[in-house]
Amino acid sequence: MAPLQKRAWYGLGMGVIWVIAIVVVFILKGGIGTFNEDTGFRLIYSGLFIGGLLAYFLIMRKPGQVDERDRLIMGRSPVVQLWAVIISVVIWMIALTESYWDEGHIPVVFPYLISNSLFIVNTLAHSVGILIGYQRGVSHG
């Protein structure tokens, strides 16, 4: 297994744990309803969010020996990231529109959560894109 591929697996594994941790914190702390009132909740969430991002960057920062094939795969992973972000935005748009249509407004916490979730999706999709590249193979031209 190429060093970059190995790191992508570590990144994906860490990312899954990261997402599960955030979801568990949300469930245990009472969800969106208490997010606005509970400062401790927001601090824990922010810590998890920033910690996860830092951990991912630390995992991926030095992938070891990288040759042209690795660079080619890295260069194509942004396509997966783009699609993941687009799909996430669409899901958020539909979910929030349908949930808050009658109220006529969306709680202010959601833009904050949307932007954070897109960071997370983009980060995980980076690893997924790399792993797809190794699985499917690439070629020059």
């Binding site: 020996q65 040759d67 193979g137 020059h140």
Partner: protein, 73 residues
């Protein structure tokens, strides 16, 4: 109907013909990773012209002796 080009290679054969050169050794000579050599031998990767020449040079043969261009369809 448009034809589809496929690049084949004889890297594995050439390695064995050159004193059973290991993938690691070929990778070092050609300037790539062992995993790239593996992918090349499995047909999962088509190299750049630069790497293709590097591999041919590592074997001391011409490019055409390593890589073959085939049209199918």
């Amino acid at each position: 109907m448009a034809s589809v080009a496929r690049i084949r290679n004889r890297i594995r054969r050439l390695r064995f013909d050159h004193d059973e050169m290991t993938q690691e050794e070929l990778a070092k000579r050609a300037g790539c990773t062992r995993q790239t050599i593996i992918a090349l031998e499995q047909g999962k990767y088509v190299p750049s012209i630069e790497l293709a020449f590097g591999i041919a040079k590592a074997f001391g043969v011409t490019l055409e002796e390593v890589f073959q261009y085939e049209e199918t369809g």
